[in-house]
Amino acid sequence: MATTKILLFAGARELVGQAEVTLEVNFPTTAVTLKAALVATHPELAPLLPHTLLAVDTQYATDDTPVSAGSTLALIPPVSGG
C-alpha cells in the first residue's frame, strides 16, 4: 500500500470540503479502481462520481487507464468553462 493524493475541484471540492484527499492504494492500479476507493472513503462524492473523469498526469483517463505510484491524480467533474 502507498499513499496517494487526488486533487478535487468545483462541486467535488465542495462536497468533501477539501482541495485534495489522500488514499491508500496498491500500485499499479487503474482509474476505475481509484474511483471505487474514493467513493468508499468519501461517500459524500457518490452522487457526483459517476459523472466525473479521472485525470492522470493532467491527461483524461478511461476506466482501464493504468495508474502507477507518483502520478498526479485529479477528479474532474463535468466542466462548465466558457
Binding site: 468545483a10 462541486g11 452522487p47 457526483l48 485529479a74 467533474p77 466542466v79 462548465s80 468553462g81 466558457g82
Partner: protein, 147 residues
C-alpha cells in the same frame, strides 16, 4: 497564444495579437456573464480551473484548430475568479486569410473548450445561493458561503 488570468480580458491587446498582414479576417468570440438563466437572476459568476491541465488542454485545442484550418493567429484567454455581469469570462480570437475558416475555427474552439477544458463556473444567484455548474450531474446548490 493561451492565457488564464484573474484580470479583465484585454480585447484590444487580443485583437492586436491576431491581426496580421497575411489575414483578411478576424473572428473574436466573447462569452459574457448573462443576468438571466431560465428565469433565475445571476449577480456574478465565479470561475475556477485545474490550471496546469486547463493550460495544456487549451494548447492542444489551439494546435488541433491549426491542423484543421489554415489559421494565421489563434489566441484563447479564460478569466478566473469573479466575472461581473456583461464582462467576458472567455475570449477566442482567430485570424485567417478568408473569413470562412475564421468563423468555423472560432465556433469549434469555443464549442470544444466548453466540452473538454477543466474549468468550472459557479453561479452566484441573486437569492444568495451559489451553485457549481456540472452539466448532466445532479445539482448541489449551496445557500450562502463564500466562493
Amino acid at each position: 497564444m493561451i492565457k488564464l488570468t484573474q484580470e479583465p480580458i484585454d480585447t484590444t491587446a487580443l485583437l492586436a495579437d491576431v491581426q496580421h498582414e497575411e489575414a483578411g479576417a478576424v473572428v473574436l468570440f466573447l462569452g459574457t456573464t448573462r443576468k438571466f438563466t431560465a428565469g433565475r437572476e445571476t449577480i456574478e459568476l465565479y470561475y475556477d480551473a485545474y490550471q496546469e491541465m486547463a493550460t495544456q488542454e487549451l494548447e492542444r485545442l489551439e494546435q488541433e484548430a491549426r491542423e484543421r484550418w489554415s489559421l494565421v493567429e489563434c489566441a484563447i484567454v479564460h478569466r478566473l475568479g469573479l466575472v461581473p455581469l456583461k464582462e467576458a469570462s472567455v475570449a477566442v480570437a482567430v485570424s485567417s486569410a478568408h473569413r470562412g475558416e475564421a468563423f468555423e475555427a472560432g465556433k469549434w474552439l469555443i464549442d470544444t473548450l466548453k466540452e473538454h477544458v477543466p474549468i468550472w463556473k459557479q453561479e452566484h444567484w441573486a437569492d444568495g445561493s451559489q451553485e457549481w455548474v456540472h452539466p448532466g450531474a445532479p445539482s448541489s446548490s449551496v445557500t450562502g458561503g463564500d466562493a
